[in-house]
């Protein structure tokens, strides 16, 4: 099953999203969190993201969801720090964090492949909430 990594400046944000995905998928999907800077303040840390990707990878790949700004840069750096084989199975998703991560998690729970999981996440870019 495809794993999910949540990258956020805040551990509370990332942990909350992890809880949400685990509830929606009855804990069937591996969700790892990489949040906060090295000193524990708000921020992101590429090496922590690399480690989270490796924990989430069971061989079928990992979809990585990021919040804002430097989280994206750190995630890109994290991919470069991965061993080549693992790098091939990790994809960043260009999606809003909460919606994208939930969609990715549910898609992963169906046993879909990594490309389908990323596609599900990225579909959230066009999701409207108020019926507009």
């Amino acid at each position: 099953m495809v794993g999910i990594v949540i990258v956020s400046h805040s551990g509370k944000i990332a942990g909350g999203i992890k809880d949400l995905i685990e509830q929606l998928t009855q804990g069937r999907v591996r969700v790892e969190v990489a949040a906060g800077a090295v000193d524990g303040s708000l921020g992101t840390d590429a090496t922590a993201i690399t480690a989270a990707i490796q924990r989430a990878d069971t061989g079928e790949g990992v979809a990585v969801l990021m919040d804002l700004g430097s989280a994206v840069l750190s995630a890109e750096t994290a991919l470069d720090l991965l061993p080549l084989e693992a790098r091939k199975r990790a994809l960043l998703c260009d999606a809003p964090l909460v919606e994208g991560a939930v969609a990715a998690g549910v898609e992963a729970s169906l046993g879909s492949d990594l490309a389908a999981v990323r596609q599900a996440a990225e579909m959230s870019r066009s999701l409207t909430k108020l019926g507009g």
């Binding site: 929606l24 998928t25 939930v102 999701l127």
Partner: protein, 104 residues
């Protein structure tokens, strides 16, 4: 011939995050392709296997939806999904032989 079912959503939650996730997981148990239309808002079709597509339908309690399934076990798929929407009083339009028999 696809199996089609129209029903009014009884579930208080409509088809929001948790019910929609359960709906997707139920749909994935069948190989039949199932599409959902929200007849009340005119939105759809959405794949029953896509969480975000389902959320975009904005299905709430009292809305009328149409489920259309095509493929293996299509009537079983439609009935399983209808049940999740609280559609036990569903009016069957066509194609559900077992129910036409049972209701006769």
């Amino acid at each position: 011939m696809p199996t089609e079912l129209r029903l009014v959503v009884k579930s208080e939650l409509g088809l929001h995050a948790r019910p929609a996730a359960a709906f997707v997981q139920a749909a994935a148990r069948f190989s039949a392709r199932v599409e959902v239309h929200n007849l009340t808002t005119g939105k759809g079709p959405a794949s029953a296997r896509s969480l975000l597509a389902l959320l975009s339908l904005g299905v709430r309690q009292g809305h009328e939806v149409r489920l259309v399934a095509e493929g293996e076990q299509e009537s079983e798929a439609v009935l399983a999904l209808a049940e999740l929407l609280g559609g036990k009083d569903a009016e069957l339009e066509k194609g559900l032989d077992q129910f036409q028999g049972a209701g006769a």
